[in-house]
């Protein structure tokens, strides 16, 4: 049995008095111990929603309307508030996008780290501080001892994200969910932080769900990819396979849009149109208005996820090769 199994997950938000719209429309996902999965898609595809629903932290008024999130045989969505708190930040940690805003501006780094430990362990202050210093050293923060007394605004963006990673690692979690961990950082720092996350995950055999819209990062770090569009998984499979031979036209479009695929001096490729808002999804395959392969069938029916892709007219290998 897989460590984490998400089945048919639906997340709904109320629209008006009675109606609801779905931000996630039936997502399935399996993750083994130590496996690294990349979740890719445009803004609003439901990537972050997926991350928050794993921890049962969908913000009001949203709710998980259907499906299950089974972690080591336990459905996290059915746990009591108290029990799930024992899992959050303990066995499953999360790293957010912007370290400027995820650390509390009025508490010192040390306070925030010790607090995390104490929420999950019976540990003395002195022992907790010692462990915090050790973790800060693990994420390569120079003069770790003196940083404990620092406030977040005294650190640079890169250092702050290292602190956030150290907090995520404090309790030796089995799964880390990283929601665009490098998007808010300088380009030069991005690679460092990503390399650090990869190294730590490998060393400690920690599973990783990396949420991003950057296929380049996913290709370097992950073993498997899940591509999301409008609340559904449209393609999933081993990273190298999807990067080399995508089946779904959306995956192919995303790959084509990467700068490294465009020749020097040529215009970057762009998928025409934009993703529809969840309140106004087209019938059938949500991607069909932007898809050059779309037919009447695509407008009428939602394609099921089969053989790793949800498309009636997938790009097949021979065609891609030609």
């Amino acid at each position: 049995m897989a460590m984490l199994e998400i089945e048919d997950l639906h997340v709904a938000f109320p629209k008006g008095k009675k109606a609801e719209v779905e931000a996630l429309r039936g997502v399935n996902l399996k993750l083994e111990k130590g496996e690294r999965l990349g979740v890719v898609g445009e803004s609003g595809a439901g990537k972050s929603m997926l991350a928050f629903s794993i921890l049962n932290l969908i913000a009001e008024p949203g709710r998980v309307s259907q499906g299950s999130v089974v972690f080591h045989g336990e459905n996290l969505l059915e746990l009591s508030e108290r029990d799930i708190r024992g899992i959050r930040g303990n066995r499953i940690s999360m790293i957010f996008q912007d370290p400027m805003v995820t650390l509390n501006p009025v508490l010192t780094i040390g306070t925030q780290m010790v607090e995390t430990l104490k929420a999950h362990r019976k540990i003395s202050d002195a022992a907790a501080r010692k462990l915090c210093i050790a973790k800060l050293k693990e994420v390569a923060i120079p003069s770790a001892e003196s940083r404990l007394g620092a406030y977040p605004h005294e650190l640079s963006g890169g250092l702050r994200q290292r602190v956030v990673i150290a907090i995520a690692l404090l309790t030796d979690p089995e799964l880390i969910i990283a929601d665009e961990p490098t998007t808010a950082l300088d380009v030069t720092i991005q690679a460092e932080i990503m390399a650090l996350i990869l190294k730590l995950c490998r060393e400690k055999d920690v599973a990783l769900i990396l949420i991003t819209h950057d296929l380049g990062i996913v290709a370097e770090v992950t073993e498997r990819i899940m591509i999301m569009y409008a609340g559904l998984c449209v393609e999933t499979g081993p990273t190298h396979q999807i990067i080399q031979a995508p089946h779904h036209p959306y995956s192919a479009g995303l790959l084509k849009a990467l700068p490294q695929f465009a020749g020097r001096g040529t215009r970057l490729y762009q998928i025409p149109g934009s993703m529809p808002p969840i309140t106004a999804l087209p019938p059938g395959c949500a991607y069909h208005p932007r898809c050059e392969r779309a037919t009447e069938l695509c407008k009428a029916q939602i394609p099921p996820l089969e053989h790793g892709h949800a498309c009636f007219h997938p790009i097949d290998q021979t065609e891609a090769a030609s």
Binding site: L57, R85, G89, N90, V101, T102, N104, P105, T116, I167
Partner: protein, 302 residues
Amino acid sequence: MISLKGFITRFLSDPVAIVAGTVLLFLVLMAIFAPFLAPQNPYDLMQLDIMDSEMPPSWRVGGDERFPLGTDAQGRGVLSTIMYGTGISLLIGVGAVIVQGVLGVTLGLVAGYRGGWIDAFLMRLADIQMSLSTLMIAIIVLALFQAAFDANTYADYAIFMLIVIIGVAEWPKFARTVRSSVLGEKNKEYVDAARVIGLPPRRIMWKHILPNTLTPVLVISTIQVAEAIMTEAALSFLGLGMPTDRPSLGSLIRSGFEFIFSGSWWITLYPAIVLVMLILALNLLGDWLRDVLNPKLRRGDD
């Protein structure tokens, strides 16, 4: 947040703040050390002599060196009663604000963080409370209290009653301020991060959100101390506040008011001057604090 150093720099570069701060510090120290500094102890009936009553200030004809600002109708030195009275006024002001703060911050925090029907209920309660004037509530409760108990019991509990009544009547100001700050803070990512870490809601509210909402609380606290002292003075002036044997500034003004037409103006005038100075200093400091803590008015050198 402003650093302590920037705070001191700003303070020292603002003459109004320096004057207000000095006046306040002077009055507070005077009140605290009244038992050592005051020429007489106005609470000690043995020291009072009816022959000393209604003496003018010492530099006027008929004045006595023992009473620099003259005496009142009971023969108490006006200077001594002011020193002790300032302490009582400050005690009531600060005490009432602590009650307001504890009630208001707690209820505002819960209303803002929990939202939903709890928020609606608490805020309607605040609306109702705000629509009843503080003075009106205080007058009704204190009048009932005075009628129900004898004068001695009343005198013993008057200070406690004033603190509680003024405190309870003014909680919505704190609650509304804190609630609106909490609404702004609770959707910030550090709150999400705290929830993801697995912290219980109580801890997130008190340890993570509350410190980020304290700036406006600090500002209204200062103003509210002035407000509470004024309310107490008004109640005392109406005869519903502190009893004459443990006078606050308000009851001193009242007790002298009866004699103002017989020429003993000093009994009323000096406590009134001190009261005005105290309120003015508190309000000026409150305004100054609001400007300093407002990030939009922040200067480069903080």
